[in-house]
Amino acid sequence: MSHLIILPIVLPALVGPFILMAIRFHSDLQRVFSIASVVLLNLIAVTLLTRTLDGSIEVYRLGDWPAPFGIVLVLDRLSAMMVLLTTVLALPVLLYAIGSGWDTRGRHFHALFQFQLMGILGAFLTGDAFNLFVFFEVLLIASYGLMIHGGGSVRLRAGVQYVVYNLIGSSLFLIALGTLYSVTGTLNMADLAVRVATLPAEDTSLIRVGAVLLLLVFAIKAAVLPLHFWLPASYANAPAPVAALFAIMTKVGAYAIIRMYTLVFGPDVPVAEGLAGDWLLPAALLTLAAGSIGILGTREIGRLVAFGAIASMGTLLIAIALFTPQATAAALYYTIHSTLTAALLFLVADLVMERRGGALSPRPVMPQNGLIAALFFAGAIAMAGMPPLSGFVGKLLVMDAARGDAWVWTIWAVILITSLITIMGLSRAGSLVFWKAHDRSVTPPETEEETDIGQPLTPELAPEPVPGLAFVAAFALLAGLVLLTVLAGPILKFTEATAAQLYAPADYIQSVLQRP
């Protein structure tokens, strides 16, 4: 019996408490254990991914109880891919947090980081709807802790909005699960799929309500308009490495939509007809529009990236809302791209904010202006979907996949026009921050702004930040984007195989429900 599947959850669940229990006063030890854990997680994730390449689905029955009565973890191509994406993201983000010294600006960064990973990885691996809720809770509470890491009144205020809005979402999750359970009497996803498919046609109202509420919950996480309101302020005010890690959090919502709406409420299930694509597609288009408009209209670089994250979720959700294998394959490719890009730009935004403040107004030249400008330029290219980085490939894939849809012209028009708005917004911001600094008319601001109340006055004695490491992390993410572009062929082959597996859920269901 292989226990490798559960390690992505158990390992951070051991390291986190261990840090709390034994080394909470030793910042450097925490760093060592945190990095070791993430490196190990990467190795595990790679191993797991290679095991799914032949199309096999592995099921791990917790407590040795047969499905659907106990909880199961399921490893298929999709979950393996998402796990690997998370760990690949986590490593540079962690290095950045250490390099920039963010991890020592408050308490318990590393423990919370591990718990956050536990929640995200658990959400990707579980095959049980209620267990998904539990992992949503884990990742929500840990993300709240990370979000307000370092304190400060602005951040705390944004944190309240974040946590309240998401708790409303959690309540809705419970209501949705209750509704689904009250009809089907089960919580295991594979079992749900079997039962939903065989529901009598004369009583479908309740299951439809449950299904749509569930979709709304995931839509909140995925920041779909008009349920995205929690995102801009919280991402813009979160510590940069945390915001970068959050790039994967919206993808948890996207993942859950893909999972539930291919497995349980798939396109061929009569009960779920018209529940997903019909409203998700227009909402996704609006999300993309709102994101790009936000990029152009913003006054602050952190917010700019936050809106960029919303825009890229819009593109991703367009692809998801088409619910065809081709579109889902494109969506999965775009998921990787969007995650790495948003993370890279959040880190770049932080490099800027640390040196000159985040306001998009002229300031004198900051140290390392050229290097940061180059990183921003690359990140902006990726975010706007310009060649030669993966955003362009992803955009082409999504547009190509939309071809068969009735909305194709609208989709194309929105994607292309928002790309232009994004280009305008990003070039404006880049020119203001990196170029205008050289203008001779720009002088340093008269007085430094008063530091915000609530900001800790004196950081405790902590290891020195390692600025070089921060750049290494940012360039590592950029290297990821380059690889994603160069290896687009094989990666697309993988996502196509993944999509094929998703749209033929019989294998999944059978693997989960068969008695060992």
Binding site: V10, L20, L112, D400, S427, P456
Partner: protein
Amino acid sequence: MSLFLIAALPFIGAVFPALLIRAGRNAASLSTGAVTLLALVGLLVHAPAVLRGEVVTSRFDWLPDLGLNANFQLDGLGLLFATLILGIGLLIITYARFYLSREDPMGQFYSYLLMFQGAMVGIVLSDNILLLLIFWELTSLSSFLLIGYWKHLPEGRQGARMALTVTGAGGLSMIAGMLILGHIAGSYDLSVILQHKELIQASPLYAPALILILLGCFTKSAQFPFHFWLPHAMAAPTPVSAYLHSATMVKAGLFLMARMWPVLSGTDLWFYIVGSIGLITMVLGAVIALFKDDLKALLAFSTVSHLGLITMLLGFGTEAAAVAAVFHIINHATFKAALFMNAGIVDHETHTRDIKLLGGLRHLMPVTFTLAGIAALSMAGIPPFNGFLSKEMMLEAAAHTDWAGVAWLVPALAVFGALFSVAYSLRYIAHVFLGKKRHDYPSHPHDPGPGLWLPPAVLVTLVVLIGLFPNAIATPLVTAAATAVTGHEVHFHPALWHGLTPALYMSIVAVLGGLLLLALHRGALAVWNNLPRPEAKVIFDALVRGLTQASRGITDGLHNGSLTRYAVIFLIFTMGLGWYAFSTGAFGPETHETLPITAMPLLGWFCLVGSSLCVVAFHHNRLLSLVLIGVTGLMVSLSFSYLSAPDLALTQISVEVVTIILLLLALNFLPQETPRESSPARRIRDIAISVTAGLGMGGLIYAMMTRDFAMPSISEYHLANSYKGGGGTNVVNVILVDFRGFDTFGEITVLGIAAIIIFAITEATLGSRVRARLLNRKPWKPLAGDAHPLMMVVATRMMMPIAFMVAAYIFFRGHNLPGGGFIAGLIAAIAVIMQYMASGFGWAAERQKLPYHGIIGTGVLVAAVTGMGAWFNGLPFLTSAFGYVHLPFLEEFELATAALFDLGVFLAVWGAVLLALQSLSRYAWQPGIASEHPMDINPERDDAEIEQEGH
């Protein structure tokens, strides 16, 4: 050399100047030149084969599933363009070395230039239109960087953004066009597409594809009405203007039109769009150019005009016109790049580009004058230079073109444009070099070193040679290129003397008219200045500013930070979709009997509803609403108990107690009343929304409860297997620690995280300025005199062991009877909380040495390690084991790993609650608040006696 390598070389080479600049400017420029030369040699190696009519290809599958492959091909047209790009590139690199000043970061410049060069070579060598798109956008990006090269100049920054916006927009529309085109043809490979003329032109999607692609071409090649960005791109250093914005990049649009000519041209749509736009651009550019005083602006508009000319020729759709277009591409590149470099020399030497400040330079700068003279005469179309040859061909083609039945229109406008062209070309000579020598040049001019004049001299030599011996020099290349454009074998034999053709007469008219116009320049300028003209930059800037402000308005208006509004939108959206899902499904009849309503539940129902309504009514009073919430919680616990769910009731009530205590602590720091913020109208709106949501939720629950499961529920399995497989008779507990122990594991983690977050926030807050405010805080009301009453202290001391005993009891019975680690943890926490309440935080903390972080960590670890224990038996995580032990003098009892897991739960819950409490109480600390004594009045205390004696 592989085509792949030719396209990649400049990109790879872009690293060298960026690094080698540290070794000096010569190292940077030499390395750049070497890279370009290498690529050029690699290209020319293929030239003989291509000129023979062969096509060199190089293919690499990149993203075959999309049709995006790195396929390259080299035919005549590609060879022509690639040679121009790399050849002129070499000259520009040399020129730039001497043009840029010491302060300019030259490494950056050459890196950008090489990136541009690679992108441009990529465009002309691509055999795949998606690959072409990639290179296409790359030229926009590198041009953006090069225009904005002088970061300190606002014109540079604005020009860069304008160019990027316009060409970027075109590139985006071209993406759509290419996707459509590839779809029609069934492939994105040019070699395939070019063979499907009928298929493409018959498709209903031909028109949209054509228009979208042309938008890309027109924006790139600065065609009307997108021409306005090009003059503003002149803020770039002159080598860039010469290279990108006259010789190469702006010709990318022309290249693409020529490339697609075999499949897209020949229709009316093509003729009327491309031909007309080209014609308008040619005339408009020529007219404006005459009235520009800035040398570079003059050249920029003349470039616009010539690009229009070539576009027009391609638009005519005839073979002769296409050949003329190809020939003029070469000629324009030679004389215009030379002229730009020339303007750069003038600027460099005199420190001005304003024609009004110049004149008479021929004596001071004879070499520059000679070069400028030849190039400008060629531009004017004066024999025997190459410009004359292609212009004759253009006029010839125009003479035979009939526009919507009007035969004179195109020739007349062509002559009109050519007339202005002559005028501005000659003005460049006359007003800059001829005339009297002046004494007020901003800087005293003289001829520059050969580094600056040699590169244009090479081009001017070509201008002369092509003009004199066109067949020897240009014919092979033009033939090959034109053959590739038209798809037929082309015979190209230009000659200076064609006989007395209409074109010759038209040319003569143009030259004479041009001379006349130049003579009347002053008057013409006055007329021009009085004409109302739309200023493109003003309009564009206003548009962009408007768009930015609108975006800002929308964004700020939408995301105004009001949580209430966000929640309202959420609720309405959720209710709407929920109702939609409900109403579009079939709603079956009730299948579940309801219980009869009796007095007890009815009373409970009234209490529950009443307390909830009271919370709404009295929510301004924080303390009161907390009490009322407590009532609600209590009623919920009671109903759990009434409905035979003792575990839930126990959990609920202990959670309730702990929550209320923690909330009370928090209330301490808030005003007693909440502020009154909402207007009556808004309250009515909110009431309506929340009532609807509540009714909807209630209705949903009612519908659920009045219906049976559609299928047998999994809980039957739990009931059946709880004792047999889980070793416990309390199914709830077995579910918690065994069937779904993994959920519990997650939830205790959540609790632990919540506690450490409370701790972390406290640390952050108390480490900040807020601490001062807390220390100086005045209580809302006078404090009670008796903070630590004797009775309470004594009672809680006695309660503590009892409470712990109860916790232990609840813990151990949990597996079989209502109870368990969660409830036990809460009860144990309450036992400690009581001590804090009785004797104060400081006193209790001193006597309680266990670190709560450690307890939480231990709890989660114990649970995890228990779960991992199963691995050693080869079983999955959290598989439980249990056995029955019989010890002497004791009854048989059960030992289960689940109990160990439950211990983890207990510790985590206990630690979490106490850490939260401890953190909250730290806010309340003020000097003197902590008592060193357990209670206020203690009969045993020494100081108490003294105090009594004092009375």
